[in-house]
Structure formats: C-alpha cells, structure tokens
Amino acid sequence: MKLSHFFKIVNITIISFTIFTFKVCAVESIDERVKNLTLELRCMTCQNQSIYDSDAEFSNDIKKIVKQKFEEGESDRDIKKFLVERYGEYILFRPLINYNNIFLWSFPFILLVFSLFFVIIKTKRNKA
C-alpha cells in the first residue's frame, strides 16, 4: 500500500473526529465561560499574567464584572468591547482581527499556502 492512501485515511479520520467534537461541546456553564474569557485577558497590574490566573485586586474586580455581564446575557464580544473601551486593546491577549492586525493574523497562513505550493510544484516536477 502506498503512503498516499495511508494519509488519506488519516485525514478522513481526523476530519470526522473533529466534526464530531464540535457537536459534543456545545453547552458551557457560566463559570466555564468566565474562565475561558478571563484566560484571554491581561491582568493590567501584573506581569504577563492572565486575569484568570491572577489574584490581584484588579483581576478579581474584572472577574466579577465578567461574571455579572454573562448573567445579564451579554456575549463574549460585548464584554470584550466594553473592556477595550475602558482599558484599551492592551487587555486582550488575543489581538482583535482588524485592519491593524490583519498582517499578524494572515502571515502564518500565507506562508503555509506559499510553501505548500512550493512543495507541490517541486514534487510534480520530479515525477515528470
């Protein structure tokens, strides 16, 4: 059996599992949502620590605010927007996908696509 077949099988299994996975983890409790969101926020008074991990006064306040806002039914995006207005984009560990950061986010995938082309072209040439 050729390896290409082998990799096809590997791909199919991975894709089907991933689809499966996304269906499984649909519902999250409020505490989990608070955890997931505060893990991506910077504690402004600490050194490179997330709000979730930090016990600083600032972090505890933000945790309370985030929890309260989730209970009021606001979405992740609303809360992030609120925090950015108050503290600036510096608070977000995950940079926003906007005009300024487009290069940051697209760069790895552009590189990946280019190198993929490079490999495919080189491989084809060898076969011929």
Partner: protein
C-alpha cells in the same frame, strides 16, 4: 584587586583576538602557535570571569557591580550565581562560554587546517564585538565610588537553585550557535569539500541540546517559583528562547539530509546564520529594555543600540557572505510524495513558519506601538491558535519519518501503522468521553500516543533488537521522537485537564482534594538567613499512615522589600498536586489547589530529548 585582574585579563583577551584577526593577513602563524593564542585568550576570558565570581564570593563591595547586586548574608550558592544574575555579569558569562566553545573547537581533529583557522578567526571577530560591548557599555569591573560595607542584594526571585544553573546552560545553547555560525561562514569561504557539514552537525546538536536543557530548566523554575500553576506563558522572553530552538530543530534535521545523497548546503548555511542571529536578536530584545521581564535587569538605551549594532553586523555580514559566496548548486532534491527527503523538507518548512510566526507575534506589539502609538498584546491565545496548528502535520509525520526511504515512496508494514492509528483513535475517543471532552485534549493525546506507538512499531519491525550501544544509536531518532510524544501528552494533560479547587480555611480544617482528605495543620513563620518565611503546612491523605507533608507559602526579602510565592508541590508520577497559599481574609486563609495531571511527562520527555541529543553527538 580581583576587579583589576578581571578587567585586565578581559582587555588582554580582546587584544589577543585583534592580533589573531590581523594575523590572517599580516603574520603567518604555525597551526600550533595559532591555536595556542586562541586557548590563551579563552583562559584569560575565563580568568576574568572567575575573578568577578571571586569578588562576589568574598562580597567585595568596592566593585560597583557586586555592590549593586549582592549582599553579604546570602547563601554561598547565590553569591556564585549572583555573578550572572545581572546584566554585566551575564554578558561576561556569555563571552566566557563563547571562548570555551572556541577553546574546544581548537582541539577538533581530522579537519582541514585552514578551515579550522578561518572558523576560529570568525569566532575571534565575535569575541571582539561582544568584548568591546562589555568594556564600553556593561563593564562589571567598575570601582564603587563610595565606601560601603553592604550591598543592595540580588533580586529574590533569582535566588533559587533552578535559576542558578539555568543561565549557563541556556547560554551554552545560544552561544553554541556562534560556532555553528562561524563554521557555516568558513564553509562558504572555503567552499571545497563537504567535510564541514559533519563538523557543523556535531556542534549544532550540542547547542540544541544545551538550549533544550536551558529552556526546560527555565520553565520548570517558572512552574514552581512563580506559583501560577503553569509552566509556559508565551512570555516574550520565553518566545525568544523558543525561536532559536525551533530553528535549531530545522537545522539539526537538515544536517541529517547530508547523509542521504543530497546535501542542501545553501539551506543549511541559511539556517546556521538564522539560529545565531535569532540568539543575538533575542539578547537585544531582552537587554534593551524594550520588553519588561525578570530577565531585563536595568534598562539602558545605549546597551540596546550597541547590541542592535552587533546584531546588524553579525546578521548583515552573515547574509552578505551567504549571497556573495553562494555554495555551488547541488543536485535537485529527490522529492516524492512521500519519502524521507520530502518529510524532512516539510519538517523544515513547518519549523521555519513556526519560528517566523513567533518572531512576528513577539515584535508585533512593538511595531504597532511605533506606527500607531497604541498598545496591544499578543499573548498565548494567538500563539496557540497559529503555531500549534502549523506544527500538527509535522507531529503526524514525525512518527514514521525516520523509517521512510530516501529513494521511493513505499513504506514497509504500512498496514500495521494504519491499523494502529485507527485502533488508537478509537481508544482515545472512548477515554475522552469519560473525561470532559475537549478538542485540544483529544488532538494532543492522539498525536502524543500516535508518535510513541508508531515509533515503537518502527523500532520493533525495522531493526533486530539487541542491547548494545550500537543498537541504541541506530534507534536514536525514534527515541528522540518518543520523547517528543511523551512531552506532548504531558503538555496536553497538564494544560487541558488541569483542575482547580479553591478553599477558605482556618488552621486545623480538613478538606477534600481528589478524594483524599487534607489537613490544614498550621501557619508557621520563621526567620531564615536572608528572608522571612510564612508557611502553611498541609498533611495530604491523613487517613493513611504515611501521609505527606506539603508546605506552601511566601517569602519576604527585607533587603529588596519583595515578596515571592513558594508553591507547595506534591509530585506523583501521574499528577502534581499544587498548593498555593493566598491571603488571609476574615481570619480565613485562601488556599488554591491545582491538580496538574501528567506534568512529570513533560520533564521526562525533555530528559529523553536531551539524552538522544547527547547520543547523537557521540555518533559517527
């Protein structure tokens, strides 16, 4: 006195290197004499380093650097490690390690004489650059202008056995790339045979192994000293060490390709220059004060500019030679879908993309601040969602890569691997339902187990099992990859399946952790030599006779008026139970308990990687 000796020998060492640099064009040396001078300069640099260390050990506060960074009532080990616990001293350590590498390289046998000499001359050039940097901007031998009996003390967070050995090991990696750089440049100039590739392979493996050890020590230190429960934070300084490490993986693997018939010299030279440039660039970022961290010490703009200058000289010189003296065109790569060559090419591409992504993420906030005067953060979530997906195909491939053929795209026993992969996927899926299902957890566990399993199948089906050194050398690539697999399992479990429990407790309370009863015995305060300690004492699993005692608390260092947290960790083979003592509120102590499953696997994986790095060095 010792400061004077140190300064003079530092200057003399630089002088000798100038002499050697000129010697190429002016004086003609015998090989013996040339090597003698190289060794002399190395010994002088070491003498300079040890005289600084001596000043630290005897607490000679007439030395300004000692006065700034030491204190007479520190334990001896921290007096010694204090030598490199500051900017000036650590740069001297950097230079000393550079000359140690030159020293050992001058003993290399079976190597073209003029090639060796050229390599050492490039080392001399680097020695001069960094030496002048130390003399003019970071002199550790300045005389203290006032008479004092006591120093200002070392940053308490650095007073730790892990951090005492972390910098020398890490520098072994960073600076080790300097010799790889010099070899590559010398190889470009001589451009005769490919012998230098084997020499480069050995030294790049040595550097990579040091770097692995250094990074692991650093993150182990972060794990038990910072008291945050994690061990990797995508901190800029961590990223900086990760870049040459990943580029080093690419370098080591492309040097493997030399054993097959196609030497991709050009790419290897590029990577060698890149690795050392990244090391110097990392030093610049950390020491210029652009990034704030425990590593940055006192910021001084002139230093940053000087290192930036060195960076441009080194990188510019490197890439200029690279462009002008391009290696002869080697034969085309034998790329097939999928043989060993293409697997190694894919590895290289992915590693370089990962390196560049980390580089971009690390400097992007600086770029944005300069352009738009706005502060943004690029943190863990960015790297997790860019770097990790890029690496995943590489992880899939590495399981079988060592047994792929150089020529064809056939793989022996491929049915076995497919079967193993399918069974494994089902097993991992089933077990993941028992834990909370998590995509990353699933992918990580599957990858980790797959790498281990495939490597084991490969070992058993491709080689005859014997228990001698030769056999272990043959299977070494698989062993290294098993190490990576184990580390991936550890990383996945400890980050995805970490469990956190919070308690508010009085002394004497009992509470439940993971089904075991824990007693919060008492709070104790003691006075140590150079700090006051506050410890919460816990007895873990009191129902058993051999209950274990855990201490978690804080230290207060009066000299520098700093508090450090000291986590109490109970190590078990399958999990770490991590106690953090918080503050007291309303007569109750806040206690956080983290259950980190399989953390020990990370360190085990790293130990295996270091082992196989050493094994690969001894190969040939």
């Amino acid at each position: 006195m010792s400061s004077l000796v140190g300064f003079l020998s530092l200057v003399f060492a630089i002088g000798i290197n100038f002499y050697l640099l000129l010697s190429r064009y002016i004086f003609k040396f015998q090989k013996q004499k040339f090597n003698l001078f190289i060794r002399l300069s190395s010994l002088l640099t070491l003498l300079s380093f040890f005289s600084l260390m001596y000043a630290y050990v005897v607490s000679d506060f007439s030395n300004y650097n000692v006065f700034q960074n030491s204190h007479s009532n520190k334990p001896l080990i921290y007096k010694i490690s204090g030598t490199w616990g500051n900017h000036e001293g650590s740069m001297l350590l950097w230079l000393s390690i550079l000359s140690i590498f030159s020293f050992f390289f001058s003993f290399t046998k079976n190597i073209d004489e003029s090639f060796q000499r050229l390599t050492l001359i490039i080392q001399s050039l680097l020695h001069i650059l960094f030496g002048l940097f130390i003399v003019f901007t970071s002199n550790p031998f300045l005389v203290n202008s006032i008479l004092v009996n006591e120093g200002l003390g070392l940053n308490p967070i650095l007073q730790d056995p892990g951090l005492a050995v972390h910098p020398p090991i890490l520098y072994g990696g960073y600076v080790g790339y300097s010799i790889v750089f010099s070899i590559a440049i010398a190889g470009l100039f001589q451009n005769t045979d490919d012998e230098w590739l084997y020499v480069a392979k050995k030294w790049s493996l040595i550097s990579w192994t040091f770097l692995t050890g250094g990074i692991a020590l650093g993150s182990y230190w972060a794990y038990y000293e910072l008291g945050w429960g994690g061990w990797w934070f995508w901190d800029p300084v961590e990223n900086i060490s990760l870049m040459p490490w990943i580029a080093g993986i690419a370098l080591v693997h492309s040097l493997m390709m030399v054993r097959g018939e196609q030497a991709i010299k050009k790419w290897i030279v590029f990577l060698s220059i890149l690795c050392f440039s990244l090391s110097v660039f990392g030093t610049f970022l950390v020491r210029s004060g652009i990034l704030t961290s425990v590593h940055s010490f006192a910021a001084d703009a002139s230093r940053g500019i000087f290192i930036l200058l060195i960076f441009f000289i080194v990188t510019g010189f490197g890439f200029l030679v690279f462009l002008l003296k391009e290696p002869k065109k080697s034969n085309a790569l034998n790329l097939l879908f999928i043989n060993k060559v293409s697997a190694l090419v894919i590895n290289n591409i992915l590693m370089i993309i990962a390196t560049l992504t980390i580089l971009l993420g690390t400097i992007y906030p600086i770029i944005i601040e300069v352009l738009y005067n706005k502060r943004i953060s690029v943190g863990g979530p960015y790297f997790n969602s860019t770097v990790i997906p890029i690496m995943i195909p590489g992880f899939l491939l590495m399981s079988v890569a060592p047994i792929l053929s150089w020529q064809t795209n056939k793989i022996n026993n491929s049915k076995k691997y497919v079967l193993a992969f399918i069974i494994l996927s089902v097993l991992v899926l089933i077990q993941s339902y028992f834990l909370d299902f998590n995509t990353w957890g699933f992918v990580g566990l599957l990858l980790g187990f797959w790498i281990i399993l495939a490597s084991i199948i490969a070992i058993f089906s491709s080689y005859i099992i014997k228990f001698n050194i030769k056999f272990f050398k043959i299977i070494n690539p698989h062993v290294a990859h098993i190490g990576v697999g184990i580390a991936i399992i550890g990383i996945t479990c400890s980050s995805v399946f970490q469990n956190e429990l919070d308690f508010n407790l009085n002394e004497g309370d009992k509470f439940n952790v993971n089904g075991k009863t824990v007693l919060f015995e008492k709070i104790e305060t003691t006075n140590e030599i150079n700090f006051q300690s506050l410890r919460g004492k816990f007895l873990f699993d009191i129902e058993k006779n051999q209950s274990k005692e855990i201490e978690a608390g804080k230290n207060y260092y009066p000299v520098s008026k700093m508090i450090t947290s000291e986590a109490g960790i109970l190590h078990q083979w399958n999990k770490d139970i991590y106690f953090i003592l918080g503050d007291q509120k309303n007569n109750e102590w806040f206690v956080k308990v983290l259950i980190n499953p399989f953390v020990s696997f990370i360190w085990l994986g790293v130990i295996i990687m270091v082992y196989s790095g050493l094994m690969a060095v001894s190969r040939r």
